[in-house]
Every structure is written in structure tokens, then in C-alpha cells.
């Protein structure tokens, strides 16, 4: 799966979660860019991502993903292990 | 775009210049009369700013005034006694009014008397006592207050080591605070108003606040507002006095006032401050009149023990002065003669009291209290009340509003079947 494909999957998960079809994620998107993406929805998003890809992030990493790109890369790293 | 270095230069130069201007203005206007800067017509002749800093302002004033007579008391003294009144005998002049408005306590009277004596030259002291202050025990503040640090002496008469620092502090804060600046500016801005509140160099204050309020709200509202306040206070006092045994509180402070005056050979007149019938009735109806009589008796005994060195004047009675009518609600024109409201007498009444105590040919108002006169005086006041209140001769606000609950003795009736 390419990074672009993962990004598309993340976009779908978040759109479903927030009920907003207009969301478009890019590698440099940060949480503040999406109005409804608060800390609560963030956790749901992370768990949904974990379920989708069958991985588990470390809590410290969850806290410090600087942007969507970092999540995409972390998925890659986790699946590569 | 700007340049940070020139920003910082401009900032510091502006800040320093403005600060210098503020200090200069405050020194020139001297809103609290701390420095004694000469008063300049159109700039600082009248001083309204001392209103909320009276103890500060007056403690600096009295040191410059070199009075022969000092008048001590609360806000009613501050406002109602004119230190420059023509009734003062020549031998007693100059007089300084050291009455302190706001947050008053009898212990402040002791300290201000000590201070007036410490600055030198005082031969006579007239100390006004508010009866309400003898029903609530005063507890000395823990630690030294700012005012304690300012006086020349400590309470036991020794030189006060804290004074220099406190004076420096007072001067700094009178020069370099927002409050001082605002008071300076409003002092200058207000000079055009001839009725501006003014603290004269002799400690007397004009009655501007009362004049303004009377004009805006009418005398009725001023009495009614203060009645409401006194009613609350009297209720509080009644609770304290309900279980009080023995001598009334704070008489030891009066004993200290007497001791201080005698120690320094100062002729002392103690004065029980007059109150309007509205206030008297409020305390009467709270069952406190026996306590008022107890206070008079205990003060009389205290003074009698001095063998004539101290006099005690009693103006707290149901005389025609104290029971003048209160104008009706809505009437903003009719003035009163003797009282601004139930606890603050007007300067006219103050002058009558000065004449009564130190002059001759005065109207029959108040009386000297001695062990020989007190019983008759108490009875006379009760009789005056019976005729003025119970027989509805005086149009008091409290009498009108609480008619029927006045506690008057029932009219004499022929004995018969009930």
C-alpha cells in the first residue's frame, strides 16, 4: 500500500467519523485545520485507524504526531515490523 | 515597518518623561495635602481628593496647623464642626478639626488625640463620642496598620520608629500612583465649581456631598436611606447587647483618652454626639434606650472621678433640634435646619454646640452631665419623647413608618374593669 493509498484511507475514516464528506487530508494537514477534529474525535480516529490497519500505536506517539503525514509514516513503520 | 531599537528608545524616553510629568503634577496639586504645597487659585485651592484618604491627609495637616484646640471624632465631627466658626473663643484658636470619616472607631480618636498632642501646642481637646460605638467591642488590629506607622508616637507615647519609612511610602504613593493622578486631575478640573468638596487646611470639610445628594434626591431619601442602614446596625447591636453583662465595651478607650489629655495638661471636653430623632427612635424601638442611659451614666462616673478636670456634654436627646421634621417623599426642595440625615448634623447645629460649650447666650441645647444632673436629665429626655413622639408632635420618618410599634407608654387611664 502506498502512502497515497493510506492517506485516502485515513481521509475516508475521518469523513465517516465527522460526518463531513468535504474533508480532504494531505500529508501536512494538522488537526487545527479541521474545525471539528478535537481531541476526543482524534482518539476515535486513531483507534479506527488501528482497527483498519491491524496495528497498535504507542500512546506517546499518538500524543506527538505533528501532522497527518506522521501518522501515515507510523502506519508504514508498524506494518513493516 | 519600524525598528526595534528606535522603538525601545522612544518607549523609554516617553515613559520617563510621562512619569516625570505625573510626579510634577501630583506635587503641584498635592491632592491629599501631604506636602503642604501652597494652594493655587484655579488649580488646587479646593481639595476634594482627600475624601477617601482623610486620615492620611489630616495627619499631615495637623502637624502643620499647630492648633491650640483639636476637635476629635468621626465623620459627623469631620463634616459638622467648623474649625473656623466665629463661636470659638479667641483663646482657643487656632482650632483643628481632626474628625475622621469612614471606618471610624473610638480607638482612632485615642490615636488622633495622641498625635495632635505629639505635634505640639495643643491646650484643649474636644472629643465627640458616637453612642453606637459603645455597644460593639473594638478589637485592636493585629499588627501595626499603615496609620499606626504614620503617627509620631507609638500608643504608649514613645517615638515611632516606623514613621520615617511610612512617610517616605506616603510621599511616594502620593506622587506616583494612578489614584493620586486621577485625584489631581479631578481636583484641577473641579476648581470651577464653587460647591466643590474641600478639605480646608484646618481640617474642616465642606458639606458638598450632602448638598449634591439633597439636590438630587431630596432630604426625605437621604433620611430614609440612612434609616435603613441604622435599622440594620441597631438590630446587630441589639443582638450583641442582649446578653451583655457589666460595663459597656470600649469605655477603657475613653479612660485612655482622659489619661492622655490629663497627662499632657490638655483641657478635655467629651461630647456625646447629637443624632436625629429618626436614629434615636430606631434604637429606642430596638430596646436599646436603657443601654444609652447606661452609657451616659458610666461616662458620667468616669468623668466625675477626674475631679473637674474633664467635662462631659450630652447632646443626645429628644430636643426640638434633634426632632426637626423630615420633608415628605418626592419633596426635593424643602431643606432641613439641623441635620443632613439621622447621624450627620449640619454646621449650623455644630455652631450652636460650640457656642453652648465655650461661649455664652446659647440656645438651651444639650446639658453638662454630672452625677447630680444625670437622673433628672434622663427623666427629662423620656418626658420629651413622650410628648414629641407619642403625642405625634414631631414628624419623624421612623415614627410615620412604624406607627403603632413605637413602644409608647399607654395613655394614663382611670382604673376600671378590664
Amino acid at each position: 500500500m502506498t502512502e497515497q493509498e493510506r492517506l485516502t484511507t485515513l481521509t475516508r475514516i475521518l469523513s465517516d467519523l465527522l460526518g463531513d464528506e468535504s474533508i480532504e487530508l494531505a500529508m501536512d494537514t494538522v488537526r487545527e485545520d479541521i474545525p471539528e477534529w478535537d481531541s476526543f474525535n482524534y482518539i476515535n480516529f486513531i483507534v479506527a485507524v488501528e482497527a483498519e490497519f491491524g496495528i497498535k500505536f504507542r500512546i506517546v506517539d499518538v500524543e506527538s504526531f505533528p501532522n497527518v503525514g506522521a501518522i501515515v509514516k507510523a502506519i508504514g513503520a508498524a506494518r513493516g515490523r | 515597518m519600524g525598528n526595534p531599537r528606535s522603538f525601545l528608545r522612544t518607549w523609554i524616553v516617553t515613559l520617563a518623561s510621562l512619569a516625570a510629568v505625573v510626579v510634577a503634577v501630583n506635587l503641584l496639586v498635592d491632592p491629599y495635602d501631604v506636602f503642604g504645597t501652597p494652594r493655587i487659585a484655579g488649580i488646587s485651592l479646593l481639595k476634594p481628593g482627600a475624601k477617601n484618604h482623610a486620615l492620611l491627609a489630616k495627619t499631615y495637616q495637623v502637624a502643620r496647623a499647630h492648633p491650640v484646640t483639636v476637635v476629635i471624632g468621626s465623620s459627623s465631627t469631620h463634616i459638622g464642626i467648623d474649625a473656623f466658626a466665629p463661636e470659638w473663643p479667641a483663646a482657643m484658636r487656632p482650632v483643628y478639626n481632626y474628625g475622621i470619616p469612614g471606618g471610624y472607631a473610638t480607638s482612632i480618636s485615642l490615636r488622633t488625640l495622641q498625635e495632635a498632642i505629639a505635634v505640639g501646642g495643643v491646650r484643649n481637646a474636644v472629643v465627640f463620642l458616637d453612642f453606637q460605638n459603645f455597644f460593639v467591642p473594638e478589637h485592636p488590629a493585629s499588627g501595626l496598620t499603615e496609620d499606626d506607622r504614620r503617627y509620631h508616637t507609638t500608643p504608649d507615647g514613645a517615638p515611632n520608629p516606623h514613621r520615617p519609612l511610612q512617610v517616605a511610602n506616603d510621599m511616594f504613593l502620593s506622587l506616583a500612583t494612578m489614584g493620586a493622578l486621577i485625584d489631581s486631575l479631578s481636583t484641577v478640573a473641579g476648581q470651577g465649581n464653587r460647591d466643590l468638596l474641600n478639605l480646608a487646611p484646618d481640617g474642616s470639610s465642606t458639606e458638598a456631598d450632602f448638598i449634591d445628594a439633597a439636590r438630587a434626591d431630596g432630604m426625605h431619601d437621604m433620611f430614609a436611606q440612612k434609616d435603613a442602614f441604622e435599622a440594620e446596625r441597631a438590630g446587630e447591636i441589639a443582638r450583641i447587647m442582649a446578653n451583655w453583662q457589666g460595663k459597656l465595651p470600649n469605655l477603657d478607650i475613653v479612660a485612655a483618652i482622659i489619661a492622655c489629655a490629663r497627662h499632657h495638661n490638655v483641657a478635655l471636653a467629651l461630647v456625646i454626639t447629637p443624632h436625629h430623632g429618626d436614629a434615636l427612635e430606631i434604637y429606642w424601638r430596638n430596646g436599646l434606650w436603657p443601654r444609652v442611659e447606661q452609657l451616659k451614666a458610666e461616662l458620667t462616673a468616669l468623668v466625675a472621678a477626674q475631679g473637674g478636670a474633664v467635662t462631659l456634654w450630652d447632646f443626645l436627646d429628644y430636643s426640638t433640634f434633634n426632632t426637626e421634621s423630615v420633608p415628605r417623599a418626592g419633596d426635593r426642595r424643602t431643606p432641613t435646619h439641623w441635620f443632613w440625615e439621622p447621624t450627620h448634623f449640619k454646621k449650623q447645629l455644630g455652631e450652636i454646640m460650640i457656642q453652648r460649650m465655650f461661649g455664652s447666650d446659647a440656645p438651651a441645647f444639650g446639658a453638662l452631665l454630672t452625677p447630680n444632673t444625670i437622673v433628672a436629665r434622663d427623666a427629662e429626655i423620656r418626658a420629651d419623647r413622650q410628648s414629641l413622639i407619642c403625642e405625634r408632635k414631631a414628624a419623624l420618618l421612623t415614627a410615620v413608618e412604624t406607627a403603632g410599634a413605637d413602644g409608647c407608654a399607654p395613655p394614663e387611664k382611670a382604673p376600671g374593669p378590664t
Binding site: V60 | V22, L55, D209, A224
Partner: protein, 540 residues
């Protein structure tokens, strides 16, 4: 030492800066050591014994952090045990000083346990320091912090601009800045720092502090069980809200400014919270660094674990468009309430703070529930936003103001009394003087049940004017972060893409006009540092 004192502004700060710049010109390490040393002096100033309390705690934490660093890779179980021990140590330290009395008192209240309450010395800023230390240990354990010395750690904990009242900072955002700090006088940093500091000083002293004596008697009366009419109750609620608002806003600005003098940017802590249009929005603007801390170290780990567990059991979680009550209660309401209770207790040892936290927790749950349910009830998001944002603002404002009563009231019963007053349970009273001046309107007021009272008309007028003008400042003007956005006043602050309209004339620049304006602001602040004690003689 308080920031708003002559000693700090004219004594401590110039000395601290002069030493820092002078040493920094030679070696940065010396400048940083100097900064640690003056921070310790700052901390010790009020009560030197504080140093004896904080120094051992720093050493213990440093030791624990070192141990964590060495074990986290090799022996994860041991590392975990050390981390737990460290957290417990810090919480006990905080608990002993801040909560022992409260807990004993509560036990006395509940069970009649005969604890004798002793007044402990509360070390200054202990709540902030404790949270930072815990965060540090967690970060070391998680491998987010590496390469630290005792000097680094000491400076991180003690850095005086944020020492006693926040913002709560993370090691990883501070240390790189300390390591890169120029350590030299930099005109732009000083200009930005001065501006922030004196804006803050003026906010606290000129805007916030005068409200204190106005509202204090109202809370005092409520505590004594005296009911307040609607007028007084709202003055108490609004007055205190604005007092704490400008106090906190001013304090946060001062902290940002002081950090900037040393070339250090602190995180955003206060971002016009009264402009919030929802309670969630409020917590993203009010005490931001605390919200960030609680989210990162309590809420997120908790929900992450709960969500994973629930998923493993095959129960529904959030996601998709079918919110489920069980998921809502377990994954949202419960962690939210728990986090807000911690927040409440953290603010102070008292029932009122716990209730305040609980109330905000409930409000947040309602807000979240509405967010989940709204798209089904009202699917047109654009129309919803357009119509409901003003409603959201009003609801949030009223909720926040009402909750603030709990924060200030001496007891829950006093707060309850004021709330009843706010909804009119004790009528509406206005001073007689107001009635006398209103003519016809007075009759109309009487007919709707407004009663005259012998309270001060001029005091009411002055208080109302003050509250209205402060509300206007808080709600209409841009904040300092927006005004100085071009100079990154706090970590990550950038100019908005679409700046608010009022910002046009208020964009800060290091030019002459701003220098003169800020000199006036600074003077107003400095002139308000002290005041002659006065007796307010409210005769009329």
C-alpha cells in the same frame, strides 16, 4: 515575588536580564546557569523555606528520570514500575501540601473523624510544578526526552516566567529553545517582551484588580446566607468572571513577555475564552496549557485504552454515523467527567472546585452529545453554523459565568444562593436613586416587579459601567496574541489568514506610535503597582 511588584519590575528583572545578557555574551551555559540561579531566588523570595521543599523534589525526580532513561529500552517492566512510583511520589507531594487539610476536613465532615487541621505551608506554584514533573517522567519513559543534565532539568522546572502560575510547559518544547537561545540582548525580543509584559501588567492592575473589592462583599454576604437580588447576583457573577478573566489574561501575557526577554517562547495559555461559541471551544481557549496537559496525560490514554478494549470485546465504538449510548457513556462521558474532576481538584482543595470541575464536565458531555446527534437532527451544517453560532456563544457565556460563581463562592451553599438570585428567586432590586431619576420608566419598572432599595445608586452606576466596558474589551477587541501575531508571541502563533476586522489599526509593530502608546500602557500599569489604602466612603 509577584510580577506586579516594585521589587520584581525595578529590582529583580533588571538584574536578572543584565546578568543573563552579560554572561550570555561569553558562554551560553553560564547564562543558563544564571537563569536557574535567579529563578531559585525568585522562588525563595516570599518564603526561603520553599527552596528546601522544592530542591529535594527536583533531585528525586531527576534521579527517577535517569533511572527511567536507562531502563526504558532494556527492562520495560522495571521502567514502568519506576514511572508509576514517580507519579505517585509527585502526587503524594502535592497531596500532602495541598489536599491533606481538605481530605481530613472532609472526613471530619462525613464521619466525624477527629482530625486536627494544621495549616501547612503551601509551596508556591506547587500545582504547576507537579504537573510538569509528571509530564517529564512520562516523556522520558516514552522516549520523547533524551539527553538531559541536572542543569537542564533544574532550569526546566524553575524557569521563573512560568514557575508559579504557568503556562504548563513540556520539556521537549523548552529545552531546544534554551539550547538555541542567543543569550544576548536582542532588540526585537525585548520590544516584543516589553509590550507583552506591560499589556499584561495593565490588564491585571488596571482592569482586573479594581473588581475585587466590588464583588467581595457580595460573596461575603452570600456566604453569610443573605439572599441577593438579581441585580447583585449578576454583578457578583459577571464581576468575578471579568476579574479572573483579566487577571489570568494579564498574567499569561506577562509570562509570555518575560520568557521573550530571554529569547524563550512559551506556549499559548489564554486565547479570548469569552469569545468561545461552545464549551469545547472554551476549553481550547481558557488555560490552554492545562487542557493540553489533561488531554495528553489523562483523557487520551484513558479513552485510547477504553476504546481498544471495547473494540476487542466487539462492542460498538464511535465511528460511522451511528452513535451508541453505551459507547457514549463509556468512551466519552466517563473519561470527560473524570478528567474534569481532576481539573477541578487541581484548581483548589475545596468542594466548590470539585463541583466546578464536575459542572464543566457535564457541560462538555452535553456539548459532545449534541455534536454527535446534531447532524441527524439538523443535517445542513452550513445553515446550522450560520444560525446557531450566536446561540452557542450566548449559551456558553451564560454557562461559563454561572460556573464561575462556584469558583469564587466560599461554599457550595453560597453559590446556590447566588444562582437562585441570578434567576430572580429573590426579586430584582434597584437603588431608590435610580427610580427617582427615571420618571415614567420608574412606574413601569415597579409594575414588572422591580423593587426600590436604599442601596448606593452611584456605586451601581460605576460598577455597571465598569462591567460593560470590560465585557466590550473582552468580546470585541483582538487579543495580544492576534495583535503581535507577526512576531510569534507564543509558540506556534501565526498571523491569521483572514484577520478580524478590528485588528487593522491594532497590529503591533515596533514603530514610534506603538512605542508611545505602550509607554502609556506601561505607565498606567506602573502607577497602579501601589496605592494609598483608602476607605471607600459610599455614603450615597
Amino acid at each position: 515575588m509577584l510580577f506586579n511588584s516594585y521589587t520584581f519590575i525595578f529590582g529583580f528583572l533588571p538584574v536578572a536580564l543584565a546578568g543573563f545578557y552579560a554572561l550570555g555574551a561569553r558562554r551560553r551555559e553560564w547564562a543558563l546557569l544564571w537563569l536557574t540561579a535567579v529563578s531559585l531566588v525568585f522562588y525563595a523570595w516570599w518564603r526561603p523555606v520553599n527552596v528546601l521543599l522544592i530542591a529535594p523534589s527536583i533531585l528525586v525526580n531527576y534521579g527517577l528520570a535517569r533511572a527511567l532513561e536507562q531502563t526504558s529500552e532494556a527492562r520495560p517492566a522495571l521502567a514502568r514500575a519506576i514511572l508509576v512510583a514517580g507519579i505517585i511520589f509527585n502526587l503524594c507531594f502535592l497531596g500532602y501540601f495541598k489536599y491533606l487539610n481538605f481530605i481530613e476536613g472532609a472526613l471530619n465532615d462525613t464521619f466525624g473523624a477527629g482530625f486536627v487541621l494544621t495549616q501547612l505551608i503551601l509551596p508556591l506554584g506547587i500545582s504547576f510544578i507537579t504537573f510538569q514533573k509528571i509530564a517529564f517522567l512520562v516523556d522520558v519513559h516514552g522516549g520523547r526526552v533524551s539527553r538531559f543534565s541536572l542543569a537542564d532539568y533544574g532550569l526546566f522546572v524553575l524557569f521563573f516566567p512560568q514557575l508559579i502560575a504557568g503556562p504548563i510547559v513540556h520539556y521537549r518544547e523548552m529545552m531546544p529553545q534554551f539550547r538555541a537561545a542567543p543569550g544576548r540582548f536582542d532588540a526585537e525580543n525585548v520590544a516584543v517582551g516589553l509590550s507583552l509584559f506591560f499589556f499584561g501588567l495593565a490588564k491585571k492592575l488596571v482592569l482586573a484588580d479594581p473588581l475585587g473589592p466590588l464583588v467581595a462583599p457580595l460573596y461575603g454576604q452570600a456566604a453569610a446566607g443573605v439572599p441577593q437580588s438579581m441585580t447583585e447576583a449578576w454583578i457578583a457573577a459577571l464581576g468575578f468572571t471579568l476579574q479572573i478573566y483579566f487577571d489570568f489574561s494579564g498574567y499569561s501575557d506577562m509570562a509570555l513577555g518575560l520568557g521573550r526577554f530571554f529569547g524563550i517562547k512559551l506556549p499559548v495559555n489564554f486565547n479570548s475564552p469569552l469569545k468561545a461559541t461552545s464549551i469545547i471551544d472554551f476549553w481550547l481557549r481558557w488555560h490552554v496549557s492545562l487542557t493540553r496537559f489533561l488531554t495528553a496525560y489523562i483523557y487520551n490514554p484513558l479513552t485510547l485504552n477504553l476504546t481498544r478494549r471495547r473494540m476487542a470485546k466487539g462492542k460498538p465504538i464511535f465511528g460511522g454515523r451511528s452513535p451508541n449510548i453505551g459507547a457514549f457513556v463509556n468512551l466519552l462521558a466517563m473519561p470527560t467527567m473524570l478528567t474534569m474532576l481532576v481539573s477541578g481538584i487541581w484548581h483548589g482543595a475545596g468542594y466548590t472546585y470539585i463541583l466546578w470541575g464536575a459542572l464543566h464536565g457535564v457541560l462538555l458531555c452535553i456539548n459532545h452529545a449534541w455534536r454527535l446527534a446534531r447532524p441527524r437532527i439538523w443535517p445542513d451544517t452550513k445553515a446550522y453554523r450560520r444560525k446557531m453560532v450566536p446561540v452557542g456563544f450566548v449559551l456558553t457565556f451564560v454557562s461559563v459565568v454561572a460556573a464561575m460563581v462556584l469558583f469564587r463562592a466560599p461554599s457550595p451553599s453560597a453559590a446556590l444562593l447566588l444562582w437562585k438570585g441570578m434567576v430572580g428567586a429573590y426579586g430584582v432590586r434597584l437603588p431608590q436613586a435610580v427610580f427617582s431619576r427615571l420618571g415614567v420608566v420608574a412606574g413601569w419598572l415597579t409594575s414588572i416587579g422591580v423593587q426600590p432599595a436604599w442601596t448606593s445608586g452611584s456605586l451601581l452606576l460605576a460598577t455597571t459601567l465598569r462591567i460593560v466596558s470590560l465585557l466590550a474589551i473582552a468580546l470585541l477587541l483582538p487579543n495580544t496574541l492576534q495583535m503581535l501575531a507577526a512576531f510569534e508571541p507564543a509558540i506556534g502563533v501565526k498571523p491569521a489568514k483572514t484577520p478580524p476586522r478590528l485588528l487593522h489599526g491594532l497590529t503591533w509593530m515596533p514603530d514610534r506610535v506603538w512605542a508611545v502608546g505602550l509607554a502609556c500602557v506601561a505607565l498606567a500599569g506602573i502607577l497602579s503597582l501601589g496605592e494609598l489604602s483608602e476607605f471607600l466612603y459610599w455614603q450615597f
